[in-house]
């Protein structure tokens, strides 16, 4: 099942959660329900245990009866199946514990499921799952904005040294988030993280670094005219310098530790395309932290991912973790038109169609007079315009309106509708 977030103005589809939403706490639901100890709540009075083979079929039937609208996602259903499979495997294992065939009843006592238990289980799972779904009409974006904005106020304006590398500071905290959200064309510390083809070799890493960094003539030549000292002999023009850094072992700890230290290259400056092309650098895994550059080189989807990662990282470095869905929504709203649009007047202008909303954002006189001169129409659809106009907004409880039934109601006939049937028995 997918959820679609619609743009307030003209219901443009902004974002949807795909069926395999990895973050959804499906397992938590099932684990919690298991904790409820169904054998205690619903004691198997009649001892009508289900044979192992019947369980999957029963599950299907139950799901179709209890969840006819198929509100539950596929992954949820799959998890239920997996869980019950494990139960049946357990049952089978118990059966074959003993060399001789263990008595079926004993085996069922230990790990059997009755029909009622199964029904209750599935019912409880579904009932716990349903409230976790967001209702249609929820102002998701406002909630996302709050969720991102509030931790933002907790952040300080410090810059943090970058991942243990001395003297390489990236902007962090409030200024960084501002750069991302306003989609600044120039950011103070653009850094390209380049993965090396040979991760373990320090010497090769140094060679690659040499290829990337600017080598100016002044360093190479013995004597030279003063004007020429700054001309670069090799390396990428736009790169300030490159530093070899040891990778932080986050996941796959064991594997990496066995292989020894792993290195990657941190390149300060712009030029993602050029860096990707350098021999020795794995272009597939090289990214930049500058959103505009990512958009130019890797496209709009790359920019979207960059926005999400950058904001998440900046917040994480201050110890704040935000649910990724809010960031995903923010990134989608910023990129769904095909361009990266920031929180500036130009960005909002390109995103929205409403003059009134723009007027309430910045420079009201310009927008209103321009709209009047050009005869623009404003379909009062978004929240800001509706508040200005004094009509209820279209999200939340305002999503529904009462529709008056105009067709004639059915005529009620009083009296018994059922015709009696007499059966006459002849003795």
């Amino acid at each position: 099942m997918d959820v679609i977030a619609r743009h307030q103005h003209d219901s443009r589809q902004v974002f949807w959660i795909f069926k395999e939403d990895p973050v959804f706490p499906v397992q938590e639901v099932i684990d919690y329900v298991v904790l409820l100890r169904f054998d205690a709540i619903c004691p198997p009075v009649e001892r009508k245990y289900l044979p192992a083979s019947d369980i999957p079929q029963m599950l299907e039937e139950l799901l179709s009866t209890l969840d006819p609208a198929s509100v539950c996602s596929e992954s949820f259903k799959k998890s239920l199946k997996v869980f019950l499979e494990r139960q049946t495997n357990e049952m089978n294992r118990v059966e074959h514990l003993d060399e001789n065939y263990v008595d079926e009843i004993v085996c069922h006592e230990i790990s059997g499921i009755t029909e009622r238990q199964l029904e209750l289980f599935v019912r409880t799972c579904i009932s716990r799952y349903r409230p976790k779904l967001i209702e249609p009409g929820t102002a998701v974006v406002a909630a996302a904005a709050h969720s991102i904005g509030e931790p933002w106020t907790q952040m300080t304006l410090k810059t943090f040294p970058f991942a243990g590398v001395a003297s390489m500071n990236i902007t962090s905290g409030v200024p960084r988030i501002r750069e991302i959200i306003n989609v600044a064309k120039k950011i103070s510390t653009p850094i390209i993280t380049a993965e090396l083809e040979f991760v373990n070799n320090l010497i090769i890493a140094r060679m690659v670094k040499g290829r990337v960094e600017k080598t100016v003539l002044g360093q190479v030549a013995e004597s030279i005219e003063p004007e020429m000292t700054q001309k670069s002999a090799s390396g990428i023009e736009t790169v300030e310098r490159a530093v070899i850094a040891q990778k932080k072992n986050e996941e796959n700890n064991q594997k990496e530790q066995e292989a020894g230290k792993q290195y990657h290259l941190l390149v300060e400056g712009l030029g993602l395309k050029a860096v990707m092309g350098i021999e020795g650098i794995d272009g597939w895994k090289t990214i930049s932290n500058h959103v505009m550059e990512m958009e130019q080189v890797l496209g709009i989807e790359g920019a979207r991912t960059c926005i999400i990662n950058e904001i998440a990282q900046t917040m994480a470095s201050h110890g704040i973790s935000i649910d990724i869905r809010h960031l995903m929504l923010l990134a989608d709203v910023m990129t769904f038109t095909g361009q990266v649009l920031g929180n500036t007047i130009q960005g909002v202008h390109k995103m929205g169609k409403s003059e009134l909303m723009l007027a309430s954002f910045e420079r009201p006189a310009d927008h209103l007079s321009g709209a009047a001169v050009n005869g623009r129409k404003d379909k009062i659809e978004g929240v800001s315009e509706r508040i200005i106009m004094g009509t209820p907004m279209h999200i939340g409880t305002g999503m529904l309106k009462i529709i008056l039934r105009v067709d004639p109601p059915p005529l009620l006939r009083y009296g018994p509708e059922i015709s009696f049937q007499f059966t006459v028995t002849f003795s």
Binding site: A139, H146, K377, D378, K379, I387, G390, P392, M393, I395
Partner: protein, 539 residues
Amino acid sequence: MRKLRRAGKVGEFVSVFVNEKQLCVYIASDGGRVCRPLVIADKGISRIKEHHMKELLDGVRSFDDFLRHGLIEYLDVNEENNALIALYEGEATPDTTHIEIEPFTILGVCAGLIPYPHHNQSPRNTYQCAMGKQAMGNIAYNQVGYDKLGAGQNATVAVMSYSGYDIEDAIVMNKSSLDRGFGRCIVMKRYSGVIQKYDNGASDRILRPQRTGMGSEKMQILDDDGIAAPGEIIRPDDVYINKQSPVITRGSRITSAEPLPDNAYRSARQTYKGPDGETCVVDRVALSSDRNENPCIKILIRHTRRPEVGDKFSSRHGQKGVCGTIIQQEDFPFSERGICPDLIMNPHGFPSRMTVGKMIELLGGKAGVSCGRFHYGSAFGEPSGHADKVEAISETLIKHGFSYNGKDFLYSGITGAPLQAYIFMGPIYYQKLKHMVRLQFFMLAYVFDDPVLDKMHARGPGPRVMLTRQPTEGKARNGGLRVGEMERDCLIAYGASMLIFERLMKSSDPFEVQDLGRLLIEDHYFYAACGCHKCDTVL
């Protein structure tokens, strides 16, 4: 340079400061630097000897003599950085350059009022310095007498949880203590009226009050001269100056000396506007003249305020709290000797704030009350005897039958059974701060001059701004409270569209307009503004 200064050849407030990093010497002689006197020590040995002190006691030497003879000098901030100052004479090392005259001189005026500040966490001392300035007290020396400038009262405080109304630093107060006058304060307000003289020679006049007939009940407090009498109780809508202004104030000068006829005057009575339910008293009436030689009348109105729920109090340790509830004395816990506390403070205020000074103040106060001697809590004063040590205080308490730790055995006032824990109870000096709330039983609050004292405010449908037809702003104009942009964002996030509609439209500036239909003006499509509920498509 310093030798010269100590010898008196250079002014005593001149500071000589060596900046080693910059390799230069700064000599500052400007005014406005804060300087402190310190005892000069040569390699750790104080220059002040026994005989100097004896001479000081005898009166032969004075402080200035010490200064002139190079025993004491003034150091300002920069020079203190060059000095190594020992707190007590016993602590001086050979590197010591100065010794404190007395450790409590480190603190200034406000901090000097804090008892045992050296036992408090330093931010708490800072807060007290700020709050002490908000404490209500006497205005001038001659009110009470030098050395007795009051800023509060000694309240008997029990530190315990009681009633649940003491959460988040709120204080529970004893109603009977309040009846007996605890925490009452006087608020004076000045009202004035000018007997204006106008350009055409006409002037305002003050009439005798009407004693009978319509409107006479409003003039009850007026004396025969038309001005309120001192000592009268004044209520809202009472007239306090029965003034009349001439109708014609401009134009040709009035030549005749006769008084103008009655109809040439209109009423310009000044009525008292105060919240309902308050009984204020006319304290003083002063007749004087203003800058333009017009006689003016100034009336000082006095209101005695009793502490009520919402008034802010604090001890001297940065422990501020609002009165949470007022409870009868019968329900208050009482000690074996029958003592009921005036205030109950929540013990949760202690752990994170670490104001141990307050606890010692209680002990010292209790001991002082029992044995009849003032106890002292000067900063860092224990070694020198300027502050009473806790051990000594505890001994005094034991001698008088109390527990050494200041805890008493209390009985519950509600059940009569003894409380299961010993309660820390004793006198603590509490200040009443100037943030008071006004308890109001009516919906519309009246205008009150001092917005700091009175916070409470409510409004039903009321005045509107002419331009936007929205409710006015500010308590003085009986304004509404704004649901701002950020509040709007929160409501949007909740999806509460009807609430937004009510708050931002219906309760703000709804306006009905007749539906003018649609007009087509030439090539431009102009839809006439339509505020009706039917269609929401607008220009």
